[in-house]
Structure formats: structure tokens, C-alpha cells
């Protein structure tokens, strides 16, 4: 057994870059982990330096979720891949009604990636985790050759525990239920697009990326009998509603006028030929509950900073074909269908 000596010089976080030795499992890997990740994530379980995290779990149903993050650009208005990787998984855990307990983080880093950027991402993850009160207790670092990655990919896994009496699932929507959205839509997707290399446009829009478990905790304590919860991330509100309709074998009818849309997001979508219903969100949720529970649930949501603009956007109807219909502001109606492929700007 060897006793590890101190590193001869500190990691050059200001101008250094990740190289293949940082992923080789030797001293450079150890230095990267201890001086960058452990320092930022700063919690006793991680500091033990084991290959796994060991902890006690409270009684009840455990929830587990995992999410890979490959976003480009890595830094965007309102957040970065680090905060997104924490919020994304926390939210997936929270959408079961659970209280998230612990996170893990796996990094795949491209050779040549600036250490300064990596430190910035780690700091952002640490801040997001601290604010959420959910520590990152275990992780992994791999380095791939230049050209075989896109800067950095981060996979996070979260576990949490569901309070007694809460049983939320995508297959529980029933005809007559109210569909509630926690706020205005499309901000994350538009913020990202505004910074894409070939599409830069000036906008004040920031990503809505946020951890929603605090809001969810208030919601389940007000109305434990919520039927469905889901965060409308990739594919937007339209995709989430179609998923829920299919899982629950019901139809949905939403009202365009009731869906919050900031003027800047509306304008950007007009310009790019995008439908905001299909644009990603990272700090919003869709809740479905019995119509009679809706006023109480909305009251609880509006009392929380992330649910201030919550409101009913439609209702669940009986329809074995699972169509999502929308009453347009124009007075007609349309189908809000599954997206095929990626949403693309129209050219004429």
C-alpha cells in the first residue's frame, strides 16, 4: 500500500485543459476529482473517497431516475449544463411526488476541454445542489479523445422517497380532471436557440431552469391525491400531454388562451417558425387532478415562487384514441399531435 503524496502543483484551473491522463485513473484523475469536483460538491459522503455512496434511507417507496445531458451550447442565459443536470434529474424524481435525497453525477469530458469551464460547471452544479438541499454523493469521470465528444456530457441519477398516501403516475388521468400548468412556456428552448452558433439573436429571455421539488412538496401536501405530474422538457407541453393521454387512454382538450406565453418567447417563435407548445421547458410542470381539487392545488402552487402563474389550461376528456385537441384563440380547434422528428423552422 502506498501513501499518496501531495500533488506537486495545483490543478491549473485558470488556463489548463483536460487531457487523457485525467481519465486514466492515475494521479491526474485523483487530482481532478479532489481539487475540482470534491471541492465544489463538498459533502462528507463524497469526501470519503469511496467508489460508491453509502447512506441510510427513510421508510417508504423509493424513486430513482436518470438523465443524460448533452446540451449545446454548454452555457446559456439563465443557466448551464451543470445547473441543468442537477435540476433535470431532481425534477424527474420530484414528478412522482417524491422528496429527492441524493444525486450522482457521471462526466464524459472531451480531451482539450478547458479546466476553467469545467470548474465553472462544477460550481454551478454545486450551487444548484446546495440550493435544492440534495447533495451529489458519488460520481465518475471519463475523458474521451478530441472529436469524440462535444465538450462535456453529464449524466445524473437521483433517488428520493415518496410520502405516504401519494400515488402519482402518468396513467391516472381521468375524464373530467383538470390540467394545470405551473407557468409560462417555451423559455428554456428559446434561450438555448438564441445562443446556437448559426442562429444567434438578441433576446432577454432566460432559461426557466429550476428545481421543482419544493413546489411539488407544497402541492402534495395540499392535495395528496394529484393524479399525474410531469415536467414538459424536450418536446414541450404538447409532447407531455400526448404522453399522458396515451398512458391514461384519455383525450385532452386545452385552451390556447389559458396557456402563458411571454411576449419575447412568442416573438422568437414567430420569427423562427416554431410552435411554443413543442418548445422545451426546464422549470415548469403539468399537473392533472380531479376538477374539485384544482382550486386548492392552484392556491398552493401560486403561494410558491415557481408556481405564481399556475392556472388551468384544459381538461381531460374521454377519448380512446388519445387525441389532444386545442381550442385556438382564433375560435377554431386543432389537434396538438405528436411531433415527428425535430421541430424545424418553416422556410416559406
Amino acid at each position: 500500500m502506498t501513501i499518496m503524496t501531495r500533488f506537486s502543483s495545483r490543478l491549473d484551473v485558470r488556463s489548463g485543459a483536460v487531457d487523457m491522463t485525467h481519465g486514466a485513473g492515475g494521479r491526474a484523475t485523483a487530482q481532478l476529482i479532489s481539487e475540482l469536483f470534491v471541492q465544489h460538491f463538498d459533502n462528507p459522503i463524497l469526501a470519503l473517497g469511496n467508489d460508491q455512496a453509502t447512506f441510510d434511507v427513510p421508510a417508504g417507496r423509493l424513486v430513482m431516475s436518470t438523465d443524460g445531458h448533452v446540451i449545446s451550447p454548454l452555457f446559456f442565459p439563465g443557466g448551464d449544463i451543470g445547473s441543468l443536470a442537477v435540476h433535470g434529474t431532481l425534477n424527474d424524481v420530484a414528478m412522482s411526488g417524491a422528496r429527492p435525497l441524493y444525486l450522482s453525477a457521471g462526466f464524459i469530458i472531451e480531451e482539450g476541454f478547458p479546466l476553467a469551464d469545467l470548474a465553472r460547471i462544477a460550481a454551478s452544479m454545486a450551487t444548484a445542489a446546495r440550493e435544492a438541499g440534495v447533495p451529489i454523493v458519488t460520481g465518475d469521470t471519463k475523458v474521451v479523445e478530441k472529436g469524440k465528444g462535444d465538450g462535456v456530457f453529464i449524466t445524473t441519477t437521483g433517488i428520493g422517497v415518496v410520502p405516504d398516501g401519494v400515488d402519482i403516475s402518468g396513467d391516472k388521468a381521468q375524464p373530467g380532471d383538470a390540467i394545470i400548468c405551473s407557468g409560462s412556456i417555451g423559455e428554456h428552448g428559446v434561450a438555448i436557440l438564441s445562443k446556437r452558433a448559426n442562429l444567434e439573436f438578441e433576446t432577454e429571455i432566460c432559461s426557466d431552469t429550476a428545481a421543482l421539488h419544493g413546489l411539488v412538496a407544497d402541492m402534495v401536501s395540499a392535495v395528496p391525491a394529484i393524479h399525474c405530474l410531469r415536467d414538459p422538457t424536450r418536446g414541450g407541453v404538447a409532447t407531455t400531454l400526448n404522453e399522458l393521454a396515451q398512458q391514461s387512454k384519455v383525450g385532452m382538450r386545452i385552451v390556447e388562451k389559458a396557456i402563458g406565453l411571454k411576449p419575447e418567447v412568442h416573438a422568437a417563435c414567430e420569427l423562427l417558425g416554431l410552435d411554443p407548445l413543442y418548445v422545451a421547458n426546464e422549470g415548469k410542470l403539468i399537473a392533472i387532478c380531479a376538477a374539485e381539487d384544482a382550486p386548492l392545488l392552484i392556491e398552493a402552487m401560486r403561494a410558491h415562487p415557481l408556481g405564481r402563474e399556475a392556472g388551468i389550461i384544459g381538461s381531460v376528456i374521454a377519448d380512446a384514441n388519445g387525441f389532444v385537441q386545442m381550442e385556438t384563440e382564433f375560435g377554431g380547434s386543432r389537434i396538438v399531435d405528436w411531433l415527428t422528428g425535430e421541430q424545424l423552422p418553416r422556410i416559406c
Binding site: H266, E270, T328, E329, G341, E342, C348
Partner: protein
């Protein structure tokens, strides 16, 4: 949003719908072809058909640039990337359009070809500047709306000496296409396609003006009303078509006066004339060879013409057997008349081009037809499975 919301006002829509219902003669039907995909999109997105009386129907025309491009031209684009090693830059819409042997640009990309999605020809020029070792080709498609930017880019590329950049030109013209629809046998002789009037192009007309439609309206005795792409534009123009038909007039009228003039954008027209010239004939999916219906790059700019630079041949490729896209694009058949519709041809796995673009008639019917006749749709799925 200012200057947009005004044209989507639900109260005005109700009033217009009431006028249309009042003025449409219940003793006859009105079949109005909206030429542009932009109109088709507005009709579906805002539910305009719902607001129309049963005897006023929209026939979806061929005005989707993605839908009318023949298979051979997409094969050419794939050939540019795979055989000539070029970087092919394309609008996203083109990526999934079926080429020969069920290939597509997106599949060629996955197989290693350098095909990149761009938002404008300027992005393709930037790539050419940044990667001087690559041959960068912009896959130019579209009607008269997208032609002036291509003209400017070609001119700039020459001035700048951007030697590794060229354009695979597929720009097509609207008036010959409208004329071709009225000349097809199923319209002329059999009278199976009832098209009583047209909603004329919006953005295209901003460039070419309303004048080019005048000979057409006179010859074929069909009203043409140029309409903007907002839902109230579509409704107002439809009312104008109905009024003309009721009064037995067949004129070119302009609903889109806030943008379109009779003469159009003369500066843009001059630019296009400087860089492009007419092709004798061009193949359209659905319409076949249409004389004088497309543009090619003039000899003075031939170094930027990918067809010449890479000596691309014209490939004639037949559309998939039993795919009814050709008849659907002419308005002669409805998507639901096609045997492939909803069975082997769906938006996830399109056979014909009308199923690819969201502006394509089949893709639109797939969403709405499935809903309106979900009984029938279910039946079709059962037949397909059996």
C-alpha cells in the same frame, strides 16, 4: 404581439365567418385552392376550416417547396456529399424527404456524409469561409421568396472570391405551376378537380407582384385573390373569392395590400434577373415536366453552380408505385384516396413527399383525418396489420 395578433383576432374571425356563411350560395359548392404551404399551415393551425360553412372547402395546392422537388434532385444532393465529398448545407425540412431506395439526407448523414442543417444560405457561406479545405454546397430550394437571398449570396461569393462555395439551384416559379395545374388532363378534360378559385401566394407575390397572375385569371376564368399567411387574411381572401364567383368575375384581387403591390419588389426582381435565367423545363413532383418553371445560374456565375462544377446529371426517378402524391399535389385526389396513406406511409416513415413537410397535404390529413374520421383511421390500421 403587435402587427400579428390583429390578424388572429377571434371576434373578427367570427364576423368574417358569418359573412362567408351569409354570402356563400347554399345551392353550390366553392372549392378554393390555397396554393401555398403557408396558407395550408394557417388553415390547420388556427382551425379555419372549422369556421367555414360545409359548402366552402379548401383544396391544398402544391405550394410546398419541399413537396414538389423530384426524387432525382435529392439523389443529386446525396451524390454531392457521398461521391464528391462535398459539405451539403440544407434547410431542415429537406432532411427527411425520401430519396431513391428509401434513403434521405438524414440517413446519408448518419452513414457519414457531411450534411449540415442551416437556417440560411449565409450560414453555408460562413462554413465555406471557416473551412476553406471543404467544398461547401448550399442546397437551394424554394419559390420566388427564397430566390433573391440566393442571388445576393452568389453575387457576394463572386465579389469575395469564395472559391469553395457553390449552389445546387432548385428554385422554382409559381405562375407556371398554377398554370400547369389548370392544364393537367384531369382538370381540363375530365373536370374531376373542381377548383373554382385560388388564394394566391403571399410572400412570393411580395417579390413578383400581382401582375403575373393576370393572364392566368383571364385565360382560365378563375378568380385569384392574393392572401397573407395570417388566418384572418385567409378568411378575408376566401370571402373575396366567393364574391367574385357569385358575381361571375375572375380577376386578380389583392387582399394582402399591406405587403403586395401590382409590380412587386423591383430591386429583388432585378437581382434575380442578374444571377439567374429560365430553364426550358423542370421536373416537379406531382406536376411532371413544367416548361419555363425553374431557374438556373447564369454562365457569368457558373463557377458557383454546383451542377456544372460537379457535372451533375439529371436523374429521372419514378415516384413510389401507388403513391398518390402527384394527384394529391394537383388537388385531383385526397390523401385518404391513397392506398399507402396511413398504412405504409406515415410521418414517421414517409413514402411520398406530401407526408414529410408539415405543410404537405398528407401530413396535415394524417393529423386531422385521423381525428375527424378516427373510425376510418382505425379501420385502415387494421387493414394494414392484416
Amino acid at each position: 404581439m403587435k402587427f400579428v395578433d390583429e390578424f388572429r383576432n377571434g371576434d373578427l374571425a367570427k364576423r368574417l365567418a358569418a359573412s362567408i356563411t351569409r354570402e356563400a350560395d347554399t345551392g353550390r359548392a366553392y372549392h378554393v385552392m390555397e396554393f401555398c404551404g403557408g396558407h395550408t399551415h394557417a388553415i390547420f393551425r388556427y382551425g379555419v376550416q372549422d369556421l367555414m360553412p360545409a359548402n366552402v372547402q379548401f383544396v391544398h395546392g402544391p405550394g410546398c417547396p419541399v413537396c414538389v422537388l423530384p426524387i432525382g434532385r435529392i439523389d443529386n444532393a446525396i451524390e454531392l456529399a457521398e461521391r464528391h465529398g462535398a459539405t451539403v448545407c440544407t434547410y431542415g425540412d429537406m432532411m427527411r424527404v425520401p430519396a431513391s431506395e428509401r434513403r434521405s439526407l438524414i440517413k446519408a448523414k448518419a452513414a457519414g456524409a457531411d450534411i449540415r442543417m442551416v437556417y440560411s444560405i449565409r450560414d453555408a457561406m460562413r462554413i465555406a469561409r471557416e473551412e476553406p479545405q471543404r467544398e461547401v454546397v448550399f442546397f437551394a430550394i424554394g419559390f420566388e421568396t427564397t430566390t433573391p437571398p440566393t442571388a445576393v449570396a452568389v453575387r457576394d461569393a463572386q465579389a469575395e472570391g469564395l472559391r469553395n462555395f457553390s449552389v445546387f439551384c432548385n428554385h422554382v416559379l409559381t405562375p407556371p405551376a398554377i398554370q400547369s395545374i389548370m392544364q393537367t388532363p384531369d382538370v381540363r378534360e375530365h373536370g374531376t378537380v373542381a377548383i373554382d378559385g385560388f388564394l394566391g401566394p403571399a410572400h412570393v407575390s411580395a417579390v413578383i407582384g400581382s401582375r403575373p397572375y393576370e393572364p392566368f385569371a383571364a385565360e382560365y376564368k378563375r378568380p385569384v385573390v392574393i392572401a397573407g399567411f395570417e388566418p384572418l387574411d385567409v378568411m378575408q381572401a376566401t370571402l373575396m373569392v366567393i364574391r367574385q364567383l357569385n358575381e361571375q368575375r375572375h380577376e386578380v384581387e389583392n387582399e394582402y395590400v399591406r405587403v403586395v403591390t401590382r409590380e412587386g419588389n423591383l430591386k429583388a426582381q432585378a437581382l434575380v434577373a442578374e444571377v439567374f435565367e429560365l430553364r426550358e423545363s423542370f421536373e416537379w413532383r406531382g406536376l411532371g415536366e413544367v416548361p419555363s418553371s425553374a431557374l438556373r445560374i447564369k454562365d457569368a456565375y457558373s463557377e458557383f453552380d454546383a451542377e456544372k462544377r460537379f457535372a451533375l446529371g439529371t436523374r429521372k426517378v419514378r415516384d413510389a408505385k401507388s403513391c398518390e402524391c402527384p394527384s394529391i399535389l394537383r388537388g385531383a385526389k385526397k390523401p385518404t384516396d391513397c392506398k399507402l396513406f396511413g398504412t405504409v406511409c406515415t410521418p414517421e416513415s414517409p413514402i411520398g413527399s406530401c407526408m414529410v413537410s408539415s405543410e404537405g397535404a398528407c401530413a396535415a390529413y394524417w393529423t386531422y383525418g385521423r381525428f375527424r374520421q378516427s373510425g376510418d383511421g382505425t379501420q385502415r390500421h387494421k387493414e394494414a396489420a392484416a
